[in-house]
Structures are given as C-alpha cells and as structure tokens.
Subunit: 564 residues, 2 copies
C-alpha cells in the first residue's frame, strides 16, 4: 500500500521560473502584485482556437514543436521539464488561450467555496503541484476544496467563461502525471466531498461522493458484508472519483472486471458548469446512450465526476493466498491455464513477479521476508481464491496445487496459513512500486500484451540495456497486464532514448496497449497512436471539443493535440 | 427459444399508402416508374436541419405533433400507425430531409454489393419491414446485404451524401420496433457478415463479424470449452451486432454482467462512412476515451457495428437448475438474498415468474408441462448454478434448498435431474414471450425497479385493469428486471390509455428504468424523460448530432426529438 502521505521528492529543475505568474498572496490582493492582464487574454475575446480536428497524428519519436496557432507561434514564459517519458528534454508551452488568475477570480472562488476552502498555503500547494512519483511539477497558485456539486459547477462555469484552466484532483496518485497541473491551472480537489450517500444491502449498490478514499469505502462495506470491486496499491490515498475517471484496474479486475461494468451511475459536472445527473442505481437501464461511460477513463478531461453509484460484490468468507515459484515464463502461463480450469469461479487474483521484482521489494522496503528463501527462482506467482465455502475452496486449491507441482510447472510454493501471512504476500506484490520509487529513478510502463508474448519484452529490454539499469517485470498476468519498470540511479536522456520509442513500438507490433490501466495523463498522449487508429483519435478529439470547446479541463493531457 | 423464422402477423392498418414511393422493380428501372425527385430534396441543398438541441423535453401523455421545422410544417405522404405504446393512434410524419430512392441509387448499391445482395423480393422485404411482434411496419423498398465492412462504409457514405435514411438490421428480434424501417429507409442487413475471425483459447477472446447468430457463436465456443456471456430467448435469430447495439442483457447477466464490461472491442462504421477500428482484444486498454461504449446500446443510431471482440467465460462443467414455488412475493425476495449468500459464486441465474406467466406458457406452447403440478402457487423461481466442481455445487445447492424450505420461503420445488429436465424448465421461462404473442395482443413493458417494489406494479396494474386484460409479471429478479406484459384479445386504445402513462410514471416515481434491456427503439423515445434528466437527454442529442449530423442512421428512434 502506498503511504497516505504522498512522497514529494526527486523532481528536476523546471526550466525558467514563470515570468507572468507570481505567487498569489491574499495579503497582496489589491496591492498591485498580481498581473493585471485583462480578460482579453481569454479565449472568447481573442477568438483563437486550437484546431484540434485538423491535426495529423504522426508516429513519433519527434520532440515537441512549439504550438503554432494561426499566424503566431506562441511562446510563453511557462515551461515545464519532465522525465521518464519521451517528453524528456522537450518543452511544452503554456496554452495562451488560458487567462491568468486575477484578484477578482480569487474573490469569486472565496465567495463560492468560502475563504478556508481557497488554499494558497505553500506546502499544501507544493504537494498538490507534484505527482506521486515526483516527476511532474506544476505551478498552480490556488487549490479549491469544494464541498458540494453546486460549488464544483459554479467553479467550472466561472472558469469556462473566464478561460481559466482547471485540473481536477483526487488522491493525486496518478503514475502518468494526470492529476497535477502542468502550468498554472486552478486545482479543484474533490477530497472534501467524501460522504457515503447510500448503501443497499440487498442489491449491494453503493452511492457516494467522488472524494471518498477507496480504502475507507472498502472498510465501510466490510461492515455490511460487501467489498469494493477494485483494489489498488494506492487504496489508502486514491479517491473513487479518480478511480472512475482513470478507469482504474488493479488487483480484483480478474474476478470482478472493469469499472465500465461495475459503475452503475455517475454525477458529472461538465466544463461549462452543467450538472449531468446520471446517478442511476439500477443494474440494467437501456434508456438512450450510456453517456457515463465517456467519463469512466476520461481522465478528468471531459467532466468532473462528483458522485458515483457502484455495484459492489458480497464479501465472501473464504480467502486463500498462495505464493508459488516457477522456473520459467512458460510454466507461469501453464499455471494460469490450470488455475482457470481448476479454480474456476473462485480464482480472484493471478499476479506475477520476476526475481528482480522480488529483490526490489526485499531490498528497499522494511520488514520484508522472502516467502520461499530456500532457492531463488526466476518467477513468482501470487494466486488468490475467494469463495463462499472454505472447505470447497481449500479442496479446489489442493487439487490445483497438486497438479501444478506434479506437472513440474510449480517448483516451490507456500499457502498462507492466516491473514497475517496473506497480507505479507500481498505486501510484497503491492510494495514493488514503492520500492522502485525508493531505489532511484524509475521509468514506468504499464502495458497490455498478449500473455504468451508478455515477458519477451522484459527480456529484450534487459538485453538492450545491459548493466546500465535494472529491468523488472511484474503485474496482473491473469489480465495480460505487464508493469515493466526500469530502475536507474538517476534520470538519463541516453537511457531513455534506448527505452523509447522501442517499448511502444514493440507493444504496438504485438497488438498491445501502451497504457493498460494507468491512463495517458501528461506522460503519454504522444503515444496514443501506438494503440489507437487515427480515426479513433480523431473521434476522441471531436468528443473533447464537443464537451469542452474551450479546452479548460485538465489541459495538455490524454489527447496528443497540443503536442504536435 | 424464439423460432429462427420470424413470425410476421397481426399488424394493423397503416394509414394511407405511400404517395411518393412506389415499389422498386429492377425490371422497371429506366421505365419511368420511379419518381424523379431530384437530389435537391436531400439535406445538403435545402440546408434544413432539425434543431435537436433547441428541443424541450416535456413530460408526455401528449400525442405527437407535426414536425415543425423552420417556417414549414412538413407533411409527408408517408404515415405509419402502430399500437402497444403511447404512440398509438398518433401519426408520425416522414422527415422530408431524407431523399427518395431513385434508379441511380439502386445502380450504385448494385455496384457496391452486387446485384444479388440488393433485395427487392416482396416476401423478403415484407419480413424485413415488420418487427417480430408484428406491431410496426415500415415501407422500405430495398434491403442490402453487404458482405464486408468496406461495403457497409460505401453504402453509408453514399446514403449520407445523398440524404438517404438507413436502418441497420440484425436478426430483427427487437421488441421495441428498433430494427425495422419506419418509412422508406434503406435496410442494411448484416446477416451476410457472419464469419468468426479468431478465438484465443488462453484468453477466451472471440472476434467475429456482426452478423453471427448468438446461438451459433455459443455452439462454436462450446466446442472449445467456452460459452457466450449472454443468452437470450431470441438466440436462434438475433445477431451479435444487434446484441451489442442494443446492449442486450438476458439470462446470464446476473453472473457475467453487462456487455459494457464484456465487449473488448468494436469495429464501427460511422454514418459518414468512416470505418473506426476499435477492435482491440485486450482486457485492459486505457489509451484515451472508451468510445466503443457509445455504440454499445446506441441502437444503431450512431454507427453500424460491423465486428465485435468479446471476452467469453470458460464453460463450466457443472450446471444445476431448480424450479421452486413460493407463496408470496416477499418469500421470493428472501430466497434471492439466501441464494446470493449460500450459492455465492456459483449462482448464475435467478429468474421469477408469477402463476399467470406459467399458465400463459402452459396454455399456448406445445409440449409444456407444469413442473410442480400438485398445487398451484402464486410465484415460481428458476434458479441455476454453474460451477467447476459438481460435488461442491450440489452440496451448496442442497444447503441452500434446505434453508429455503426450512424457513418456509419455498413451499415446493424440484431440481432437474438431467439436461432434458433443465431444458424443460428453461423452455417455460424462455417461452413466455412467444406464448404471449400467440395469445393475442400484448402490451410489453421491460422495466428495472428496485426489487422490493417490483411486483407491486403488477398488482396495481391488475387491480386497475380488472377483467379487461391478463396482467403477467416475470423476469430477471436477480437484476431487478421486470417484464410486465398485458395480454388482451386485441389492441384497444382505451386499454392503452389505462396502462400508459401510468406504467411509466409509476416506474419513474420508484426510481426505475422504463427500459431495462429492450432499449427505446421506435416505441419509447417519448418515455426517455421518465428515466433520464433533461441535461442527460440534451447531451445524447449533441452526441447524435456530432456523429450523425444529417440524421440518416436509424431515424425516428431512441431520441425524442422528432416526436415533439
């Protein structure tokens, strides 16, 4: 589990300081410290538009060019540098359509959410400006903490009319820079909207506000005999609104499937402030287009999710966890097929990690112990069953394990004897991301690849990079989801150029996805074409333009338009 | 199972015959029989648009008014009458934006799909013009059977440029008039695109063309140890493209969930002929907006689904079916809660039918036998378990049944001893729709209602209608999905006025959905506001205008715009 207090460290120098934005200080309001740029800088009066729909989507290894809009090449004082993706070393320019925050804006926000919910405390702002990995840092001067949907609507309506860019923020646990400002966007943090609104013990339908923390929801449900259909390493910090907006996958995906199936309803505020109440609580509702789906995985670029209705499964009484070792990757696949067959309906997780992943966790996290210390193996599997009858589940697990060992696919293994052992096994798997973060610089890739080819990429990458970095592979094997991570002492442009675009090209050639569950955020918009056709991206751009014609919501993210 | 050969009967008189359209006869091409209305009738040259976005969505019991566009009230020679919904007795006018089919159009179609795939055979056309219930009848003069996506694209591109309206058609098993033309739309039947393209036995991912019949896919998968995640009474006729386009629910929904979760990818042709390849085969892919979701349940109004990629579950070896009787509806609910608890992960269906439903099946279908003939009860449940271990499943079922009987919630019951008995039980449940159709006129309502309130509507309706009709209630209790059906000797306006809008208002007041799984089609667009807010409908209209600005695709369906 990631710590609830977010790590803020390791960010690079961020180029020249903002020349136009100064730190907002309520004491200074009216003192002339704030720039007095007029509303004419905003979108409406200049009449400028980024012509998204005319863009071509080129296969990239190109560095970004200046944004050329009409006749003027726009250069702004705001620049941001970031590392760990192919945006490295390049300069993204602030979109000058967006207005600069003024005194009157702050007054308006204070009127809407109250003075205490308009945050300009330096430490709080710094934490909110930097992502969990410490890779991306924005320069937002104000963070708002609305407590109601109406407040969110008022904020967006105002920002839209003024041309002020906004970044919606949940628990700020994005691994692709999706939840932090890129420049001076106003941060709208949903954390104060954290009420559970209803729970129906017959249907298992939970309705809550977007700012509820995932782990808190799971604890609440456990008291009623239910559980959340998703579980992540970040559960102690991440919020359900962010989970929905990023279509989070996680550890229970294999059993309970995608949020596209489990989310029954949403309340969403559109960029123009319209509140769209799609907060149904029915399993079946075929009355028109299922529009809520657009916001599931929309990464906060189409609307701000304010309330969520979710189908939650019963918490089944019997849980078993086994930690197994395999000699080779082929055996891991054989064990997966066997598990599907023998464990059938009780299989709830099938995770894998290679030896380097295990070593990473053992070396960098406290209190870790190798569950299978007798001999080092190349691959490890964490398999979980969840069912309603302990005897049945144990019998199924025994039969499965006997087969797996008899056939030689599993060479060593241990079944947790109590909750404490189960937690210890899970802690290894869930702790790898944190361990990597402690180990140094890390290049993270979250890929979907057909299971048979999945580990080949790790091996090719290892061969390619030699001793210059540690390449580790782990992830949700049952879902074909590889977390490829490259750990190095420090961020290095040469290393990055060895990794990218190779990793994306390889994934594309193997019909994979360059973002299985993390999303595109700020890190990967340029890579979208490796997994999506030009027609599909074009349609996404149309969708964005339809819902957010002024582009104020979470700009510079998801779509590649401003990067070309 | 519904018969593969569709019943075509019982339709009403349809008002005046088309005055402008004549039967197209290839022999007559060039003979002057075809009207020579010019392209100027098309959309582009008149410049007329239905101003969808300016519409207000009124609570209806209103009859439809003429469509008033700009300064001209458009009256067309085409009129259609239909029964069994509140459109009864009202007149829908043909949208004059649409061009009238000409000789050159037929030539174009022949060039694209070949002469044999341009159908004007009277019987075939008649079957394709009428829905399965025999309630709605269009006047299309031509049916096209494309064999490739490119052919579909050429057809749509052409029709879009000419302003020719199109209705996409699968197995034509819609229960809401969604799959038949309303006036003279060109029918594009996907039935000839029926190839299975790939199946992966490790991941269970099936890729196939849209015209594959559901039952054929299930049979194919069974040979490989897998099964379709959905099952419907119409499986012998319905096509997977139609299932996806209508977000079909059905009998396995309780276990495997919605198509929004199970469809991994789609290939779709947009109304302008653009082919959008979103045919991914990955369980996880968070690279941008999940646009395919719009077409799942889009009812063919946003694009034509041409290929489908679907996650299919393993076919588990152990299936048990029990047919149980309860004295009252409260007991049915108690049994549902008990089944979720005791059967847990092996519960795969929880269907209910009242005594009137059982009688309907016994009276009107051949070879039916009451599974519990000793005493008539008010309610019956069909419960299915599906699992990987027969002994475990039987033990769970035994424990569950003992509890259910001991507590008095179940008063009688029988467990199928073999496949033949299981099929006989299912035949009763699946045959009710067919039996109703044989019994006379039927008013069908497919509603989602919170389980606790669900049967109250049946009782209130029964009290309201007295002896004038037979009111029956059955459906997917596990999903809160009631099929309310009112059977009468013939369609009768007075009876309908007693049913509607009462049924919709009641459902709306109980926070239900006026279409759980059947969709809105032609029958229910006017009722959308009972389940969706004005802002949501407005957003749907925007989406339709974005993707189909000329409105050529499946017009007069889903959205209420043309009805106000």
């Amino acid at each position: 589990m990631r710590p609830a207090i977010k790590l803020v460290r390791k960010w690079w120098s961020y180029g020249p300081k903002p020349q136009k934005l100064r730190i907002w200080d309520p004491q200074a309001v009216g003192s002339g410290l704030l720039p007095r740029s007029s509303h004419a800088r905003g979108l409406h009066q200049t009449g400028d538009h980024l012509q998204h729909s005319n863009l071509t989507y080129k296969h990239s290894n190109q560095v970004f060019k200046d944004i050329d809009i009409g006749n003027t090449s726009r250069r702004s004082g705001f620049q941001m540098r970031n590392f760990g993706s192919s945006t490295m070393g390049s300069t993204i320019l602030r979109d000058e359509r967006f207005a600069i925050l003024e005194e009157c804006d702050i007054h308006y926000f204070q009127k809407v959410v109250g003075e205490r919910a308009v945050i300009n405390d330096k430490d709080e702002l710094e934490a909110a400006n930097v992502d969990w990995l410490g890779k991306f840092k924005g320069a937002s001067q104000v963070l708002l903490r609305p407590r109601t949907t109406k407040q969110v609507a008022s904020i967006l309506q105002y920002c839209n009319s003024r041309g002020i860019a906004v970044v919606p923020q949940g628990g700020n646990t994005s691994l692709v820079g999706g939840s932090v400002p890129v420049f001076d966007e106003v941060i709208v943090n949903l954390g104060a909207m954290n009420k559970i609104l209803s729970f129906d013990e017959v249907s298992g339908v939970l309705v809550c506000e977007a700012g509820c923390i995932l782990e808190n929801l799971d604890k609440y449900l456990a008291e009623h005999g239910f559980t959340m259909p998703l579980d992540l390493g970040a559960k102690g910090s991440c919020q359900i609104g962010g989970n929905v907006s990023t279509n989070a996958g996680g550890l229970r995906f294999l059993r309970y499937g995608s949020l596209h199936g489990n989310v029954l309803g949403l309340e969403v505020v559109l960029p123009d402030g319209t509140i769209v109440d799609m907060l149904g609580t029915l399993r079946k509702d075929n009355t028109g287009y299922d529009l809520k789906q657009l916001f599931i995985g929309g990464e906060g670029t189409l609307g701000v999710v304010t309330k969520v209705s979710l189908l939650t499964p019963a918490k089944l009484s019997s849980v078993n966890v086994a930690f197994l070792a395999c000699q080779d990757y082929l055996s891991c696949q054989e064990v997966l097929v066997l598990a599907k067959k023998k464990l059938g309906e009780v299989l709830s997780a099938f995770e894998f990690l290679d030896r380097s992943s295990l070593d990473m966790a053992l070396d960098h996290l406290e209190g870790m112990r190798d569950p299978l210390p007798s001999a080092k193996q190349k691959f490890y599997l964490l398999i979980e069953t969840t069912g309603s009858n302990e005897n049945h589940d144990k019998e199924k697990l025994d039969v499965f394990l006997e087969d797996a060992v008899r056939t030689g696919h599993v060479v060593d293994g241990v079944v947790a004897q109590d909750n404490s052992q189960s937690s210890a096994f899970w802690r290894i798997r869930e702790g790898i991301a944190e361990a990597l973060n402690k180990a140094g610089a890390v290049y993270k890739y979250d890929l979907s690849i057909p299971v048979k080819d999945l580990y080949q990429l790790v091996e090719e990458m290892r061969a390619k990079l030699g001793d210059s970095a540690i390449v580790i592979g782990y992830g949700h094997l049952g879902d074909g989801n590889l977390h490829l991570n490259i750990s190095a002492p420090k961020y290095d442009e040469k290393l990055l150029l060895q990794i990218e675009p190779f990793v994306y090209e390889w994934t594309s050639q193997h019909k994979g996805s360059v973002s299985a569950e993390h999303g595109l955020g700020f890190m990967k918009p340029h890579a979208i074409h490796y997994s999506k056709t030009p027609e599909t991206v074009q349609l996404m751009v149309k969708m964005k333009n339809l819902l957010d014609p002024n582009g104020i919501l979470n700009p510079y993210k998801v779509l590649p338009s401003i990067h070309i």
